[in-house]
Symmetry: none
Subunit: 217 residues, 4 copies
DNA sequence: GATGAATGAGGATTCATTCAT
DNA sequence: TATGAATGAATCCTCATTCAT
C-alpha cells in the first residue's frame, strides 16, 4: 500500500504521477517497467517516489487494485436484475466489461498482463484468477438451476468457454472497433460505438446460448 | 536469422544451445531472458553466441520460428480429410493443437507469451496474428459453404470464438490435466491423457457446433 | 551538542527518543545507523529531529557522552577506599565495570564499537582512548608506589595488560554468563549472576596479582 | 570465491585490484566499503568487477581468507619445537603474530574488524572465533599437563587472558612502535623494531608466566 | 515548535554487446 | 572460429539533510 505521504499529495500531483505510472506499466511488464522513467517523466526526484511507495511492487499492486476497484465500480453503476436469464445477464456483463476496457484501456492492459504473465507469482494473482473461475462456475450452476443452461453440460467446461470469451473479447473488440490511444476524445475517453459493439455481443451470446441452452436441443 | 556459423555447429552443440535457450525464454519473457545465463548454462563463450546470432532478438525470432515450424509439422503429420464436416475437423485440429502444447510446453509458452505480450511489437507478430485470423475465417467460410455453419452467423464473430477457444484451451487443459515439467516421462514428453482430453474437447465442440450449426436451429 | 529545543522536550518524549536512538546505534555502527528509522520508530517528524540535533554526528556524540557519564556515575555510586591494595581496587573496578555493561549493554556496545572501529576518527575518540590509558598508567604507578606492583615492571606494559583485560572482559562475561536482551527482567535490567561473575574476576585478578605483585617473587 | 576470470587476470592487474580493495576494506567496515570507489580507484569498469567477483561479499571473504592464509603461512615459516615450555611457545607465537600484523597491517585490520564487528554474522565468523578459543584452551590444557601452568587455574579463564592479550597486543604495539602506512619502507613492509618488540613481549609473558606458572606459587 | 515533502547523490548489481587475442 | 575481458548505462533503492508551511 502506498505510504500516507502519497495520499497527502495534492490531487494534481497524485493523479499526474499515477497517470504516468499507468502508461509505463501498460507499455511494459512488471520487470521492465522503470521507476527511473516514471520519476523522470513525472518530474519528481527518485527519492520522492520512495516516500510515496514502499517499492516498485507497492506501486504495481496499487495500480492493479485501482483497476479492480474501477471495474467493480463500473459494473455496479447500473447492475442488472439478478433474476434475469443467465444469458441476458452475460450480455450485460460482457457489454459492461468491454465498455470498461474501452474506457480504461491502459488499466485493463495492466491487469490482463498480470494474469497472463504471472509477473507476480503469488497468492494475490492466484486469488484473482480463482475469483474469476468461481464467478463463472457459479453463474453456470445458477444457469442450470434456472433452466437456462442444459443440465448435461459440464459446468467446468461451460465456465471455461465463458471465461475464454470474456478474456479475449476485449482485445477483439479493440481490433475490430479500432480503439486505441490515438482515438481519445476530449475527455480522455475513447468514443465507444455502442451499437456496433452490441451487435457483436449479440452474435456471440446467441451462439453460446444456442449452444448451451435447453430450449434449442 | 542465425548466422551461418550457427548451422556449421555440430548437431549436438546446436541442439544443446537451443534447448537451453528454449528453457530460458520459456521461464522469462523477452526482456528478462538473459543471454548471460544462456551462455553460462550452455558452457559456451559470450563471444561465441554473437558469432551464432546477430543479437538477442535474432535468437528469439529463431525460437519463435522453430515453434511455428514444429507445430506445422505436427499438424501435417496426419492431416485429416479436408472434406469432412468442419466441426469434426476442428475436433481434430484442437486435439492436435493441444497435444502439441502438451508435447512442447516450453515452445508453446514462448509463442503464447509473444502473442499476448507484444514483447516484439512489429510486423512479425502482426503477421502471425493475422495468419491465425485468416485461417479461422477461411475455416468458417468453408463451413458455411459446406452447410456445417449457419449462414446467418457473422464469419468474423465465429472466427473470433474459435480463435479464443483455441488460444485459451491449452492453458485450461494443462490446469485441468495437470501437465507440467515435473510430469515428464522417459522420452522427455509429458504423458497425455488422451481419453480425458477428448472428453473435454467433445464437450466444447458440441457446444460450439450446437451453437453455430444449421441442423439445430 | 543537542540544541536547546531537545532539552525543552518533555522528559517522556526525550527519553523515548534517546532509548530508540540507543537501540539503533547499538544494532548498527555509525555509518549504518539510520536517522530515518529512528524518527519513524520514535514517531516524530524528520524535521523535528533536526530541530533537536545538529545532525547525525551530534546525536552520536551525545549518546557516547551519555554512556561515559552513566558509567562514571555508576562507578562513583559506591567508590572504594582509594587507600586499598591496587588489586583489590581493580577487583572492585572490574566488577563494577562489567556490572555496568550488564546493566547497560546497549550503551556499552556503542562505546565499545566507537573505540574499536574508529567510526569517528577524530580528537574526541583519541581523547577517550588517552583517558583510559592515563587512568591505568596512574593506577600502575600508584600500585608500584604502594608496593602492590613489582617496581621492575614496565608501567606501560602493565597498563596495557589491565586495559586489554578490561576491554575484553565484558564480551567474555556475556559469552560465559549468557546475558543478552532476551534475558531482561522486569525492570529492563539483565539479571546479573554476581556470584558466578565474582568467581571469574577472582581468578583473573589472582593471576594478574600473582604475575605482577611483589610478594610472589 | 572469486570467479575464474579473476584468476585469469594478469598478476599486475590482479594485485593492483586487491591492493586497492584491501585499502578500502581496511578504511571502512563491510557495509561502508564501496565497490564504486574500488573500481574508480582501480580504473576498471563497474561491470568488470562483477566479472571477477560474485558480489561484494565474495570479495570480502576473499580478503579475509587471504589474511588467514598469509598469517598461517607466516606462522608456519619457522614453527617452534612443540615440546618447549608453553610460555616460550607463546613468546614465539605472539612475536610472530605481532610481526605479521606489522607486515600486513591492513589485512590484519580487516580481520580484526570482522571479528569485533560481526559484519558478517554467520557461521564463517563463528567458526573463526571458535577456532581461536579452541586453540588457546588446548594450549592451556597442554600447559597444565606439562607442568607449566598451575593446575588449579581455570582453563577457560587462562585461555581468555591469552586471547585478550593476543587480540589487543597488535594495536598496542603499533601505537607504541609507531607503525603505520606512512612508515612503509621500500618493499612495502613496515620496518619492525624487533629488539623493542621483544622487550615488550618479554615483559608481558613474564607477567603471565609468573601469574600462572607453578614454580612461583 | 512541528511538520513531512523534496532532494539527488550514492549504494550494489545486471545486462547486452564489442573487440582484441 | 573461439574466447572472455571490458564496458558503461541501466536497474531498484536508501540516505542525511533542507525548507516552506
Amino acid at each position: 500500500m502506498p505510504k500516507q505521504s502519497f495520499f497527502n499529495l495534492s490531487a494534481e500531483k497524485r493523479e499526474n504521477l499515477i497517470e504516468i505510472a499507468i502508461q509505463e506499466f501498460a507499455d511494459n511488464d512488471y520487470q521492465n517497467a522503470s521507476i527511473s522513467r516514471i520519476v523522470t517523466q513525472a518530474g519528481i526526484a527518485k527519492g520522492s517516489f520512495y516516500q510515496y511507495f514502499e517499492n516498485k511492487e507497492d506501486l504495481y499492486r496499487y495500480l492493479l487494485d485501482l483497476g479492480t476497484q474501477q471495474k467493480a465500480q463500473f459494473l455496479n453503476s447500473e447492475p442488472p436484475d439478478p433474476e434475469m436469464n443467465i444469458f441476458t445477464y452475460l450480455r450485460w456483463l460482457i457489454q459492461a466489461g468491454v465498455h470498461f476496457e474501452f474506457s480504461n484501456p491502459k488499466l485493463s492492459q495492466i491487469g490482463y498482463r498480470a494474469v497472463k504473465n504471472g509477473s507476480l507469482p503469488d497468492e494475490y494473482m492466484e486469488q484473482a484468477v480463482a475469483n474469476t473461475k468461481t464467478f463463472f462456475t457459479q453463474l453456470v450452476t445458477q444457469g442450470k438451476a434456472g433452466g437456462d443452461i442444459d443440465s448435461t453440460i459440464d459446468a467446468d467446461v461451460a465456465s471455461f468457454i465463458f471465461s475464454a470469451i470474456f478474456t479475449e473479447l476485449g482485445g477483439y473488440m479493440m481490433d475490430r472497433l479500432g480503439s486505441d490511444d490515438t482515438l481519445l476524445n476530449g475527455d480522455g475517453r475513447t468514443p465507444f460505438d455502442s451499437a456496433a459493439a452490441e451487435a457483436i455481443f449479440e452474435q456471440v451470446l446467441r451462439i453460446l446460448q444456442s449452444g448451451m441452452g435447453v430450449e434449442k436441443r
